[in-house]
Amino acid sequence: MTTWNKPLPTVSGETRPFWDACRRGQLLIQKCDRCGEFQFYPRGICANCWSEDIRWVTASGKGTVWTYTVTYQNRTPGFAEDVPYVLALVELEEGVRMFTNIVECPPRDVSIGMPVEVTFVQANNQISVPYFKPAG
């Protein structure tokens, strides 16, 4: 494991199942049992119908690049040394979009609509971060 110098997420009661699953190599999203809608980012209520009947479901981990940017300047330690890197919004098969970086791919090869799949990088014993790479 390399030294992790990027910021780390804060694990809260609301988000612990997500990060626990990442450690096992699974990407979780939430689904509402009342209205049937998926949602992301994780939260304690259904953002659509405001019920509390939400449960975690395992996403397929597959999606497409909805949009992206190749970042050439970011002064924040942890990212400053990574430029150019690809910041992207990926639309999961389940229909919700999430922020990520596209990895294992030269920035010039990334395009909108490109099929991608989730991959995890272990930051420390508690946190593995989901990224996306070109679908294999």
Binding site: P7, T71, Y72, L87, R97
Partner: protein, 393 residues
């Protein structure tokens, strides 16, 4: 909808012209601006009963400001929704004056972003001084090296993909605004630029080049808003608030198409209240954090269809003398951008409606109705949109 058209007016303005002020405090810039704006209006401290302000620094609240100015306002509004907060403030002034809760307000702002060395657009985590990532949504966003410019660049990238918009078309916006800056002696950058200059400059976050991004300066100012009764005691021709609309946009639990921005929701109520159409707008002050912000805003305000912005901004349409002159002070792209620029939109629209530049190339001819639209936050995550339509008698 009740008719509020001649209920509240902008009667005084002052832009603190400094672009670099390491020896001043933010409260001092606001204090100096409030005094000058009241002088401009022909009013005095005791006439003011409302205080509205926004800041990225919590020390600089309405409470701290009232203390600094030794004022006891009966109406205080600290609405902070990013750079467009001041269009929200103007809307709130209209409400409060219409309800008889307030007679005369000062809206004010200042920031020392430049002398403080703040990486407004290209800092990632920590750019707002957060020591760690909050659970949601930060832990699902900032983890990936978001920058403010990046969150606008993503929307630009998708606009190009869907509609064939080009970097050259975005550059047209920077060129038109710089042309206006060349006529403003206070503007930070005044040398004219070309489309080629823009597209050949350094890429910050693709597809946005350096001149697609606003400048970073210190600065501030104040705007005085008064009731119809107070207007009669003021020095200048009043600039009436004809209509106002407020909206927010966000990711909608991962499903909103953020190619459509908050301006799409906020402009309808503003036009309806004002009882005017797009053809009636003589000039517009469009928040220009980035060139893509202007293009998206013009589309979602309804000046052209979604996807047609690239053509719309080309061919000199946005310059004085064109069909829709914008940002005649040089905007955030060339004049000043201390972090939250919305207050300066109200000031330049007021100058144009007062015909302050009559006889010079900066004046929009026969300028009777102006539109201001402030965007705050970031297009790619969550942002606010405040539309105000202003007019002279």
């Amino acid at each position: 909808m009740p008719d509020l058209k001649r209920t509240a007016a902008i009667v005084g303005i002052h832009e603190h012209v400094t672009r670099y002020a390491p020896d001043k405090s933010e409260l001092q810039i606001q204090g100096e601006s409030v005094i000058k704006a009241l002088e401009d209006a022909g009013l005095a401290k005791q006439d003011v009963d409302g205080l509205l302000t926004a800041s990225s620094s919590s020390r600089n609240s309405g409470l701290a400001l009232a203390d600094y100015l030794n004022m006891y306002p009966s109406y205080v509004d600290n609405t902070t929704v990013g750079g467009g907060s001041f269009e929200f403030h103007l809307s709130h002034c209209l409400n409060a004056i219409a309800a008889g809760r307030m007679n005369c307000a000062v809206i004010t702002y200042s920031s020392l972003a430049r002398s403080g060395g703040v990486s407004v657009g290209t800092g990632g985590v920590g750019r707002f001084g957060h020591p760690r990532l909050e659970p949601s949504p930060d832990s699902f966003e900032e983890l990936y090296g978001l920058t403010t410019v990046g969150l606008y660049a993503m929307i630009a990238q998708r606009h190009m993909h869907l509609y064939g918009t080009t970097s050259e078309q975005l550059a047209e916006i920077a060129v038109a605004v710089r042309h206006h800056a060349s006529m403003n002696p206070e503007a930070l950058f005044r040398n004219p630029i070309t489309v080629e200059d823009v597209v050949n400059s350094r890429m910050i976050s693709a597809p946005l080049h350096l001149p697609d991004c606003c400048v970073i300066t210190d600065g501030g100012g104040a705007v005085v808003v008064a009731s119809a009764e107070v207007v009669r005691n003021c020095r200048h021709t009043p600039v009436w608030v004809l209509g106002a609309g407020e909206a927010v946009a966000h990711q909608g639990a991962g499903k909103r198409d953020l190619q459509y921005i908050a301006a799409r929701q906020s402009h309808g109520p503003a036009f309806e209240m004002a009882g005017v159409t797009h053809d009636d707008i003589d000039m517009a002050m469009i928040y220009d954090s980035f060139t893509i912000t202007v293009l998206e805003t013009l589309e979602d305000l309804g000046f052209c269809e979604k996807g047609e912005g690239g053509d719309f901004v080309s061919g000199g349409r946005l310059k004085v003398g064109g069909e829709l002159p914008i940002n005649t002070d040089g905007g955030g792209l060339s004049s000043n951008h201390p972090g939250m620029r919305g207050i300066f939109l109200l000031m330049e629209a007021t100058r144009q409606l007062r015909h302050e530049f009559e006889g010079t190339p900066r004046q929009v001819p026969n300028c009777n109705i102006a539109l201001c639209h402030g965007t705050g936050g970031a297009l790619g995550t969550r942002h606010s949109g405040g539309t105000a339509i202003l007019g002279r008698d």
